[in-house]
Subunit: 275 residues, 4 copies
Amino acid sequence: MAAALTHNAYGKSQVRLTRVTRHADRHDLKELSVAIQLEGDFARSYLDGDNRQVIATDTMKNTVYVLAKTLGVTDIESFGLALARHFLQEYPQVTRAAIELDEQLWQRIHPHAFVGGGGEMRSGVVTGTREACRVESGLSGLLVLKTADSAFAGFVRDRYTTLPETSDRIFATMVTAAWTYASKSADWDACHRLIRSTLLDAFAAHKSLGVQQTLFAMGEAALAACPHIDEIRLEMPNKHRILVNLQPFGLDNANEVFVATDEPFGLISGTVRRA
Amino acid sequence: MAAALTHNAYGKSQVRLTRVTRHADRHDLKELSVAIQLEGDFARSYLDGDNRQVIATDTMKNTVYVLAKTLGVTDIESFGLALARHFLQEYPQVTRAAIELDEQLWQRIHPHAFVGGGGEMRSGVVTGTREACRVESGLSGLLVLKTADSAFAGFVRDRYTTLPETSDRIFATMVTAAWTYASKSADWDACHRLIRSTLLDAFAAHKSLGVQQTLFAMGEAALAACPHIDEIRLEMPNKHRILVNLQPFGLDNANEVFVATDEPFGLISGTVRRA
Amino acid sequence: MAAALTHNAYGKSQVRLTRVTRHADRHDLKELSVAIQLEGDFARSYLDGDNRQVIATDTMKNTVYVLAKTLGVTDIESFGLALARHFLQEYPQVTRAAIELDEQLWQRIHPHAFVGGGGEMRSGVVTGTREACRVESGLSGLLVLKTADSAFAGFVRDRYTTLPETSDRIFATMVTAAWTYASKSADWDACHRLIRSTLLDAFAAHKSLGVQQTLFAMGEAALAACPHIDEIRLEMPNKHRILVNLQPFGLDNANEVFVATDEPFGLISGTVRRA
Amino acid sequence: MAAALTHNAYGKSQVRLTRVTRHADRHDLKELSVAIQLEGDFARSYLDGDNRQVIATDTMKNTVYVLAKTLGVTDIESFGLALARHFLQEYPQVTRAAIELDEQLWQRIHPHAFVGGGGEMRSGVVTGTREACRVESGLSGLLVLKTADSAFAGFVRDRYTTLPETSDRIFATMVTAAWTYASKSADWDACHRLIRSTLLDAFAAHKSLGVQQTLFAMGEAALAACPHIDEIRLEMPNKHRILVNLQPFGLDNANEVFVATDEPFGLISGTVRRA
């Protein structure tokens, strides 16, 4: 039997980097987790165990720390671009480098002390080839909930349907968003702040007829707010809060008492592009 | 052979409650996870399968929702007290009720929309018997980090020791704190806010010679700030940030580039009491 | 500004199903988690909140239970095919249904009692359109480790490289594998058993010069063993066991004492196809 | 204000150890996670930052690896005893050493290859003072399920009760067990195997009238089987499988289709002692 290797990639994941920049009056702090995946002329390592083209994943890890030292980390997008370009320039056998970066957020409470920003991550993916680099920025773990202006009605009713219609439910979700930039460079930090606050505002203000509609409204608002991006992808799991039935106890439940459930959950996604 | 049942307890864990209070101009939101454990005259259910004294754990869950509706949830301490008293009053076979409550924190972004507060929890344990109820309040998941004013030196050096002394390291920890109140009632919310901010300030300002010393300083500050509590217990895992060795690359590392590691980790605890 | 919806999909995730088949002399047990994603004519729900085409994700959940009752669950592949076909046949607005199924494994210890099979999952993805259905089967969470016959040497050495070469290391990984069937139907259970045991044997017997080479050898062996499949994709994180340096304590470490680390980790993937 | 330190302890957690013993014809493998907590004369480090009595937690970690090399790891109990005694003998300031050990289980598939044993852990706690050492052994993560011989009826019915009685339900739990030995030494491995298999057999064979009753029956059986232990503590969360209501779809559900839920869950514990 003959077998062929039709695709391959490898790299280092969860390279955790803490970078402190020590100013006279304050310290700045960046904490990231970096994942690197390389593609290129690596087939011989799979087929024959010939590792001569292989950059050890340990070397990739070292490179993250060396570049963090020499270049600093101002934002994940610039640092990701530097890493992608490094692997392409240093190693002719690499044809494609994908750098994923997740930044854990910290809030300053003191010139050199910080409190953790919770589960939300700022994220980025830089994908580079010898022809071009593509920057995708985003966020994940942004937990939001609204207690009004959320309905769900008018959907298909058939013999498999038991869900009642509702004009007033809790809408909770953990937003994952990723957007691509039209230009090669932008003020990554300012764009991120603007898009994040736009997503929050749109979520809060929207009169929702369904998760799908709110998702599109959020994406549309982000495109309108930030001219530097041309596409945004949103994923919004429906983190259900289910009304507790208090009738067995002779009590009304006027949308006051709910149970949060983690599973099963609805999962809604959509991509919105500037038309 | 004869076997005796020397201890028993049972209850319901992870009862998740979302309680919305609907004011004309805004909604208030509380989200908790409640765990109930009862002790009392339940041995026959273990020994003979005689369940006549057994309050089903499903009934405990129902009770959480019924009391949430009828009493509301102003703070976890009051709600925990109400639950403990309910089980003791309603069921003569119960001699001890322990109610653990963890509150997920939300920040308001709109009159009826909220953004998640991250991994930090406000926590409480109410332990009631027919004689007395005891309220313990606390917090967990409070992630803090400082990039200066942290040393560790002068410890035992022997043939098992390889750790170098340091006068300047990153100090990161996830604080768990629990305190007990001297009085039966207090302004639970105000005390919690005060103690939390005092712990943060003490962490940030302390010139640390070791995690142990900072832990004591934080506990001491909390007792000084809040006269209603007489004891505080702190647990502070050392969430190590390890200096990356950049010498193989011909680079200095002036406390700028670190790797975060999750394991192994130092774990330091202490209880501080008003003397 | 104009914004266009360029992609959308939605569905229900983590629908947990326990299916008992009650024979006179024994019970059979299947436990799965099912995720459903539908694509089709759903744009109006995003753009206008018009939900008339929307099948509620709650209805999808109900459907899982109804089909589990009426059809039974013999294997995840057949059940996934039934679900995919159901959504395509029942709802003209659906153009594509993707059904992911993860089966938790149980070992029988008694005619109607079972012990959990650990973290390994049997997995499948059925993707159906009106033209065709595609069955992908696989496994995840298969943790394996070998203490001999694993080397890693001859890789690129440059100024970023510090990893020493080794002729004898521990090789531990958690295998994720997914394969596609050449034919529309097969004895799914028999194929799964055969491929799983072939992957284990190949891992154990291989004289590894690197994770890449072992991955290819495992894929090649699976294709050789099972003529019904024509492609297999493998993902093998390198779950590092790092030799502890005992020299500071005057001790040799002849590959006897290691520390397991979870991060960072090498991540190697490859797709092997019948040539 | 005066504040006193009323309790303190510190140590290293999640020290992960892989120990290979290399025989001519096969390799043996042990993988553990060790947590060490020391108590003693450490108050000055808390009160004054005086670390002269402090054994760095990094040194504790080193000690695990040194003892693993010099003594080997035959079973977690012996290794835990060696560690506890080491800290007490080496450091006069230590008055109490608690060593927790969790062993990840591996199954041999080859003279030097292994497959992971899943989520079940073999566990032990050795607590030593200058006067005595106490060995507690146990297991955790033992997932079991039975589809027959499980009822729950006759419990308290009041205005808070909605749970129906049942004579036939699924009983699933994840057993945590811990037992103490009457003697200072025993064949730890043989005892563990015997107690584990006795617990499994008792679970499978028991005609259960409630989780409480099965818990006691399992404990009683373990004490009867192994004369070396005099007490066993069991904790058994009720991992609910809830019957799906298929009446809306015109279908009966004769205990065939269930949904597994993770929360809320009943939690039952008990301690059984030789009378």
